[in-house]
Symmetry: C2
Subunit: 284 residues, 2 copies
């Protein structure tokens, strides 16, 4: 436990400034980061569900995820994106179905569904982080600031939930899914997330007038509630697969999927909130 | 068998002119038809996979399918479609994941993946029929003609494959998946599909200059190969679930999903072919 905690702190020590630097650099650096993280997490997801009588098409899924991230979200080569995303998805589904037809493996339907769902759960949802980074509102670039606040608020929320839950937590939120998560920890996490986003807003971290204090409170609430819910979702998937950690890529961190489970759920919600509520639906 | 065949002919007798009439009427009639067919087929799909240790969220899936068909494909109320399809999909995935979190059922991951895949396999793919019906090229409405040819060529292909396969068929295509389908039947189906589309083209069924004879041959090839492949895909899903028919909604027809399996796969391919090859990607 002590060993796990110290190696976890070591990863944080290198990881936190490293991630913030990549967010700052943006462009191909940040797209590359999100792509690498998503594809490792997707690989871990396929290994997890592979424990349950399914043989997802791991490499096809990872290739499809890479195409989705680089060409759709990353837009790395605009001139070759001649088809819209909806049509790419249709083609992808047909390809996966046909591959299964000729693979001759058992549990055909499970193999198809897990392959497709993995792509939708991880690269589709986490890829919105690239869209969020690249967003700007009336010519003011706010994407960088939003992504920094997203990371810092998710990390703060997790830490507060852990510390308060460990010290004062008694009654469990959903013991069946995640036996350690308590209401005290959860509420401490939520308040911390809201507080962190409001703190950034009040200290003028966002470009002038882009985020009001009400929007800051809403973004904090989304992170505090749905970031923690993302944790439960991943626990549910792991529990269902009968394993504890999603992978062992980062020492003490129990897998990349484990580390990014909150962001997988919180990021698309913050992105959609900013796009449709802050900016307003009709101007994008 | 005789009984099955005669009730099958009865359904065809009512069904074929009925479907062609709905294609002709277009608009809400055709959208309604595609929606009803897709949602019954989706219900059958959920029942099928429910045989395999999964409890998909049937009604949420059907509701999501209905929204996708009516608002995205049918565009029945353009002023309320304020978000793009990609964002709707993200929201949908998050809702299904959270419902599962609180449902407390076993096999959480399977329940999520089957719910999502059902929506993608049936309403997403079959919905392209509505887009195909509404397509027009340089102001000439060709959608009606394309959908009629699609139905007639799929039906002709199936019938030819059945008759030739029964009479002369010996060597099987994929015995493991579909023990009755033979190479003779398959090739007869393919040639028939190509012949039917070329026949329509040669008799000036398509508005002037919209479809060349080469395009007609290509569309026939897509129907002949992938329509039959769609049949195999559905056999694979049924075989995997351990049942013979997908439902019993149409007497002798073994379920709506059974009747539309070829179209589920052939329609999006014909639609994408027309959009990107015939019309050309950059003009749409």
């Amino acid at each position: 436990m002590a060993d796990t905690l110290s190696s976890r702190m070591f990863v944080n020590f290198l990881g936190i400034p490293g991630i913030l630097l990549l967010v700052y650099l943006g462009g191909p650096w940040f797209i590359g980061f999100v792509t690498v993280v998503s594809l490792i997490a997707l690989y871990e997801f396929y290994r997890l569900v592979g424990n349950k009588n399914a043989s997802p098409h791991v490499w096809i899924g990872i290739l499809a995820g890479a195409l989705l991230l680089l060409f759709h979200y990353g837009n790395i080569c605009p001139e070759i994106v001649i088809v819209n995303w909806h049509h790419i998805l249709i083609g992808l589904i047909l390809i996966i179905i046909f591959l299964e037809l000729f693979s001759g493996k058992d549990n055909a339907t499970a193999n198809i569904t897990y392959t497709i769902t993995g792509i939708l759960y991880i690269p589709l949802l986490l890829g919105t982080m690239v869209s969020l980074r690249d967003i700007d509102s009336s010519g003011v670039e706010t994407g960088y600031n939003l992504v920094v606040v997203l990371f810092v608020s998710v990390w703060s929320c997790d830490s507060a939930a852990y510390v308060f839950g460990k010290k004062w937590g008694k009654s469990k939120i959903l013991e069946r899914v995640s036996p350690k998560k308590t209401w005290v920890g959860g509420i401490a996490g939520l308040i911390t997330a809201i507080g962190v986003v409001i703190l950034f807003q009040q200290t003028h971290f966002f470009p002038a007038n882009t985020i009001s204090v009400y929007h800051a409170a809403s973004i904090g609430t989304l992170v505090g509630i749905f970031g923690q819910a993302g944790d439960f979702v991943e626990s549910m998937i792991k529990r269902d697969a009968g394993v504890k950690d999603s992978g062992a890529f980062l020492p003490g961190h129990g897998g990349v999927l484990d580390r990014f489970d909150s962001l997988i759920v919180a990021t698309p919600l913050v992105y959609l909130y900013y796009l449709y509520v802050v900016v307003g639906c009709c101007t994008v």
